[in-house]
Symmetry: C2
Subunit: 408 residues, 2 copies
């Protein structure tokens, strides 16, 4: 099945090298295809790592081992397999991950716990040990690759390569952050998987990096949804090689910590938006801004209730300013709301205020807004100070085409 | 927009009269259409009532008043308006409901709290007072109508009339239960509304009727989902006229209470299934059986997570035995699950057991099952004794056609 490039795609950005990071790609032939499908990042000694993982109760072995090893805080290598998610494969799946960790660790002379592995693709088929072994051997010998090569190689059903970059001045030193992500499509019998990797040359303690990544994740990756479904393999890892030469960041008291945190947040936000822009069948990028809620957490839940509502998503696809469906989605969120205080708008124009349609509501500018590809929905609960922003895409025939009409 | 009759539709059943219940319909012309749109049921003196309502935090005035008055336990009349949901209309909406209650109460010589009103249709437009007044006047004078007339008159975007009947022997007396329901379509700018009404001639206390209805609701209406969206107006009311002459039922200690409870449950299950069978764009009726969960409640949540998953629903539409998507939906439910104990099947045939695909899995009979219109998905968590069954329909291009392509 050939997927057309998303109409919301962005061009791959300019991305500088990051000291201490070397990328390589190879062909493990996990599927019968004519492309690289094994990505490898070699990381300088002393690289620290942080990670956030899927909350699925049925995660892959890659996630189980990564969650455990990230607590040790050190990384020397990342391996990403595309074409086979190795999920729901029992002990044989775990064996494959451990083989890759051992093979890379032995080549680099590091502990196996410093090798991180991700896999994405078909489920229920153990990663073939022989292909993984030959692929890893090939990638260790491969010539260095570009960020775009790596972004293409971790992709499966993505329709465009996704990368983001930022920089920050920390303690008089410029530090770089470069990141790639994959995620979008879940073609039978594949599963949705969002994999994101952030590389920086900043010097930072693993504890502080974990704190900053967890915080950025809460406001970026945790605020996007394509279809409410959660992958068994979702993973975001941040690697810091420390080669920029800044005094090590350990807390917000350190000079430049704010700037670094902002740059990390910026990169995560860019990656999160790119995943939504490659949402299956997406024709519109939707930002949902909730304010006046009982708390920020309540606003977040209301935002996701709207973003996950098939009725709201189809209304936007149909360019219909259907605020009634937004009311419905607010009401079902299970959070404090008062019908007679609720206001709803599109593109900055209120359609209903305080529980009633506006008498002088002019639909023309709202209709013009909904004809575009960048849509905003504003919701004011008028109860408190809680606010949140979430992002999603519309629900179109393209989603059904991809997920129902295609047979495995 | 003309909607084709659902391929899952069932013929309207034979339904006997229920002593003490008189149905009438009239044309209030809430919309510019050539059909009756106001349904009225007159109930004998002494009729008791029980009800369950939407959990939406933004309910309509009809729901707010109904929820309050049902606690008094007595009913003399039901009025259902079709074509205007009167939701999100502030104090003017409430005014319209109170006008209808007063007008009927004054005609019947009863308390206004004994008149129950529901409305379904477009939102954000207060129910016009003049049309409501003329409609109620007409319906009070109308000739008696049939169950099918009433089922057609409460409908909005339903593609077929929905009714169910059962009977039970209570204390040597035969009691009848007849019920109608509407729900399915939510055409912009309408909202999903499920309205169900059960009428019986049994004699029963309002407290016991409420207990039985709440219990039946938990295992029937609360176990169906079309697209995870919750209406602001969902209402199920049960009316018992007491004219069958049985000794009044007050608890399960009374003779025939079990039989009556079973008949009530049966009617609710029939109505719930009919709503799913008229799900927007539905081409398959899906029963999801969850067992081996930590608790019944946990099984119920896992079942709904599967039933609400767009990826599972599109897989069934595509006749694809994609158990990986079922694993994903189990994992995201937020309930106890162990990947390596999980078993998943279709149509009674296991595709994966204990976390791994079956070596001798024969897809042919599963494929044949999925070509039908009555689909079962079995999930065994293998953790405890918790079990639940939920029902849904598949997600097809028809859903997008109805909800996105149609413009208000």
């Amino acid at each position: 099945m050939d997927l057309a490039r998303s109409p919301l795609a962005l061009p791959f950005p300019q991305m500088p090298p990051v000291s201490g990071v070397t990328l390589r790609v190879a062909r493990a032939q996990y599927k019968d295809w004519d492309r690289a499908d094994l990505t490898y990042a070699e990381l300088a000694e002393g690289t620290v790592v942080a990670g956030v993982f899927t909350r699925s109760a049925c995660p892959s072995s890659e996630v189980e081992l990564g969650r455990k090893n990230v607590k040790l805080g050190r990384a020397r290598a990342l391996v990403v397999n595309a074409g086979n998610s190795n999920a729901f494969t029992g002990y044989r799946g775990r064996q494959a991950v451990e083989q890759i960790m051992d093979q890379v660790a032995s080549g680099l002379g590091c502990a196996r716990e410093q090798v991180f592995v991700s896999s994405t693709g078909v489920i229920g088929v153990p990663l073939p040990l022989d292909k993984a072994r030959a692929g890893v051997a090939a990638v260790l010998d491969a010539v260095p690759a570009t960020w775009e090569d790596a972004a293409n190689t971790i992709a499966t059903t993505d329709t465009f390569a996704k990368g983001a970059a930022a920089s920050a001045m920390v303690d008089g030193q410029r530090v770089e952050l470069c990141a790639i992500v994959k995620g979008s499509g879940m073609i039978a019998p594949d599963m949705a998987t969002m994999l994101g990797y952030i590389f920086t040359d900043a010097s930072i303690t693993p504890e502080f990096l974990q704190q900053l990544l967890a915080s950025a994740n809460q406001q970026t990756f945790s605020c996007i949804t394509v279809d409410s479904d959660t992958s068994t393999s979702d993973t975001v890892l941040a690697f810091a090689t420390g080669m920029a030469g800044n005094t090590q960041l350990a807390s917000f008291d350190d000079a430049g910590a704010d700037a670094f945190a902002a740059a990390l947040h910026d990169v995560c936000r860019q990656l999160a938006h790119l995943v939504v822009r490659d949402g299956e069948g997406a024709s519109k990028f939707i930002e949902i801004r909730v304010s006046g809620a009982d708390s920020d957490q309540s606003a977040h839940k209301i935002g996701l209730s709207i973003a996950n509502s098939p009725l709201v998503k189809t209304a936007i696809a149909g360019q219909d300013a259907n605020w009634g469906r937004v009311v419905m989605a607010v009401g079902k969120a299970g959070e404090p709301a008062d019908r007679d205080r609720l206001s709803i708008g599109f593109g900055g124009i209120w359609a209903a205020r305080n529980g009633q349609p506006l008498a002088d509501y002019d639909e023309a500018p709202v209709a013009a807004h909904l004809e575009g590809t960048e849509i905003t929905i504003e919701v004011d609960l008028n109860l408190g100070d809680g606010a949140a922003t979430v992002w999603t895409c519309d629900l179109t025939h393209g989603y059904i085409d991809i997920n129902a009409d295609y047979r495995s």
